[in-house]
């Protein structure tokens, strides 16, 4: 019965009710004992009043317990100790009784109220801990940030009747609230949110609406970076700091986990789409190249003979062969552009000397550069660079081919290089008229040609491919007309940190080669 009295009370009832209870309790004891006052000894009466103080302390807390103590002593003196209905004391030892009674009732009241408060605290903590545990379980299974937001909001409402708002950074690092809960969500100035994020430390602000509520701004600290902010509106801020910290740790873990799941899924999706894309493109390439190969080879076999063809037929066969080769080049360019433009390209980057790729490009072009002496300057001294050799070979081929196409016969093509502190610049320059000055930027755009009306064949795709390739390597490309005449395309590749190279010693004289 006692325990049901002890636990049935509401610790948060308003003060007037709690003090009223103290007055009522003491009054009731006095009223009940009054009819039996002649039969009861004074000590028994004291005991009954002490019982009333204990009950008041349990049910109403410290302040009412003090009031009950004082009231009990007063009522006891006034109603039960002769002379009755007077505070006068006829018998000196009664003063001692009053003092002891007051002291005992105060001490008992305070101890009881303290124990009660502790029990209540423990129960509340247990409830919060259980709530946190349930929340942790929910968050561990959450499939999206909306679900995280919902669980947290429910937890806070259940525990403290506190509205909250979860803000996560968008792709451009702006904080955006997850989910919409109308006007209930606490609002905090964006600057303060950012401040809490930057400091990685919770902020407690007094709300300016006069409600006495605190806005707790909790940054979600992830392992690698900040993951957002949780704003909680709470009536007070005493003693719940550690709890809020635990809460924000739980939420950050959940948000971070969801983030990494998302990253992993995106990477997987990207890999799948890249695989699909490249298999479509290789199938296309195979299907287009097969008839072109046949066309080219058949025309070539007509030319080679035997029997030798009449001159005119031989010319025709040669023309068919050359046109097939041209179409093949265009298809190659278009497919490469499609590969570079339709999404991320997986590069086969390796550390290697640029000189090697230049050599391979020059050999590949062979006859196309006929009549243009090529000079290669300063390439041997360059550091190793990290790039995809097939793609950079493509860049050199396109640039050299352009240089040969747009410069007068016999004009030299110069390939030179300079190593800067963080980049290496490579230049291909040629004689001729250079680029039209108003098109230095535009020549790198798709289907844009420097000299639209010339008889030189081309689609305006070569430089666009170059730019796409250089950009996926983290470099830049530009065209300009050097003061000494002609045109020049220069591109930069980042130097990075080359792998260490241990030089090998030459063997001593007379030993081996």
């Amino acid at each position: 019965m006692l325990s049901s009295i002890l636990l049935s009370e509401d610790p948060l009832s308003p003060p007037w009710r709690r003090y009223g209870l103290a007055v009522l309790g003491c009054g009731a004891v006095a009223a009940v004992l009054w009819p039996f006052s002649s039969q009861l000894d004074l000590p028994n009466t004291v005991m009954c009043f002490l019982l009333a103080v204990v009950v008041v302390a349990v049910r109403a807390g410290r302040g009412p317990a003090v009031l009950a103590s004082v009231l009990s002593v007063a009522l006891f003196d006034f109603l039960f100790v002769p002379p009755r209905f007077s505070f006068e004391v006829s018998h000196a030892p009664h003063v001692f009784t009053f003092v002891v009674m007051l002291a005992v009732s105060l001490i008992v009241g305070q101890l009881t109220a303290g124990l009660r408060a502790q029990a209540r605290d423990a129960a509340r903590r247990e409830r919060v801990a259980r709530g946190l545990y349930g929340l942790a379980r929910e968050l561990a299974g959450a499939m999206g940030v909306e679900q995280v937001d919902e669980s947290v909001a429910r937890f806070l409402l259940e525990q403290w009747n506190a509205p909250c708002c979860l803000l996560l950074p968008t792709a451009d690092e702006r904080l955006q609230a997850v989910g919409r809960r109308g006007g209930a969500a606490p609002v905090v100035d964006a600057g303060l949110l950012q401040q809490a994020r930057d400091a990685q430390r919770p902020l407690a602000l007094l709300a300016d609406d006069g409600s006495g509520c605190h806005r707790h701004v909790l940054p979600l600290v992830g392992t690698t970076r900040n993951r957002g902010v949780l704003v909680v509106a709470l009536p007070g801020d005493d003693g719940i700091g550690p709890l809020l910290e635990a809460l924000s740790a739980l939420v950050s873990t959940a948000v971070e986990r969801l983030h990494f799941v998302e990253v992993a899924q995106a990477a997987q999706l990207e890999a799948v789409s890249e695989r699909l894309r490249s298999s479509i493109l290789s199938a296309l390439s195979h299907d287009v190249r097969t008839p072109l190969t046949a066309l080219y080879g058949l025309a070539d076999s007509l030319m080679v003979g035997p029997p030798p063809l009449p001159d005119e037929a031989r010319d025709v066969a040669g023309a068919i062969r050359d046109q097939a080769l041209r179409v093949n080049g265009m298809v190659g360019n278009l497919l490469d552009m499609a590969r570079l433009q339709t999404g991320p390209v997986s590069l086969r980057k390796e550390w290697q000397p640029v000189e090697e790729v230049v050599g391979a490009s020059l050999k590949l072009l062979g006859g196309a550069l006929e009549g243009h002496p090529v000079r290669v300057l300063g390439l041997a001294a360059l550091p190793l660079l990290e790039f995809d050799a097939v793609l950079i070979e493509r860049v050199f081929c396109n640039l050299l081919e352009n240089a040969a196409k747009y410069s007068p016969p016999g004009a030299p093509i110069i390939l030179s290089a300079d190593a800067g502190p963080s980049m290496v610049e490579l230049r291909v320059s040629s004689g001729g008229g250079g680029f039209p000055p108003d098109k230095l930027q535009k020549v790198f755009e798709l289907f844009e040609r420097g000299q639209a009306e010339t008889a030189v064949v081309g689609m305006g795709i070569g430089l666009a491919i170059c730019r796409a390739i250089i950009e996926v390597h983290g470099g830049t490309i530009r065209a300009f007309n050097p003061p000494e005449g002609g045109g020049c395309v220069a591109f930069c590749l980042p130097r990075g940190t080359p792998p260490p190279v241990e030089p090998e010693a030459l063997p001593a004289d007379g030993e081996g080669a």
Partner: protein, 228 residues
């Protein structure tokens, strides 16, 4: 070279047609197959001295064919690949194919490769010349001596070993992996830049113009080819 049997595995009839006519004009015997499976059967029947293998066969990858074929024959394999960025060919070359041609190819290129490979095939087994000369360089493997315009060129042990491997496989494409394995004894990706640096050293020591080499050729993205 005349009379040698060549097996052509290619699914496109028109390509088979002109390749066959070009080879027959050279006095070679040609047998044909359209699929990988048919190719293996035909190879067992006609014992070819050279196989020309298309990489875009409908029934599977070329590396598988080369694996099966290499189990019983050392005859050279020339691969036809659809494009320069076709990385499948690296797998086929690693598996033991000897050379590749990128489509479209001219008859001149085709015949040059075929001749070189047949010569290599005939020269086997293990009869590498003790003395080789290319350009103005002479290498005498018995003396471990390299001369350029009559003067001794000093090579480090690794450079010499790389030169020996490349010369021994003259005319054949060697993938990065194969060279790393033969020269460094391992095919680790971490050291692949060493291979490129050492090929560069050889070019600077033995080529007239290292930026436009004539003997130590780069097969971009694949490996190197030494050409006499």
């Amino acid at each position: 070279m005349k009379g040698a049997t060549i097996l052509l595995i290619e699914d496109e009839r028109q390509i088979r047609r002109f390749v066959r006519s070009a080879l027959e004009k050279e006095g070679l015997r040609v047998s044909e197959a359209e699929t990988r499976r048919e190719g293996l059967v035909e190879a067992g029947r006609c014992q070819p001295e050279l196989v020309i293998l298309d990489l875009g066969l409908p029934d599977g990858d070329g590396a598988g064919f080369v694996d099966d074929f290499r189990a019983w024959s050392a005859a050279p394999v020339l691969v036809l690949s659809a494009r320069s960025t076709d990385y499948d060919k690296i797998g086929v070359l690693d598996a033991g194919a000897d050379d590749y041609l990128t489509k479209p190819f001219s008859i001149g290129e085709l015949l040059a490769r075929v001749r070189a490979l047949l010569r290599r095939g005939r020269a086997r087994p293990g009869a590498e010349a003790a003395r080789v000369s290319f350009g103005d360089v002479e290498v005498d493997f018995s003396l471990r001596q390299v001369l350029r315009r009559g003067e001794a060129v000093r090579l480090t042990p690794l450079e010499y070993r790389l030169l020996a491997v490349l010369v021994a496989n003259a005319g054949k494409v060697m993938t990065h992996r194969q060279l790393l394995h033969e020269v460094w004894g391992q095919a680790t990706g971490d050291n692949s830049h060493y291979l490129r640096i050492y090929v560069g050293h050889l070019r600077h020591k033995l080529e007239d113009d290292p930026a436009q080499p004539r003997h130590f050729l780069t097969e971009t993205g694949v490996g190197y080819r030494f050409q006499l």
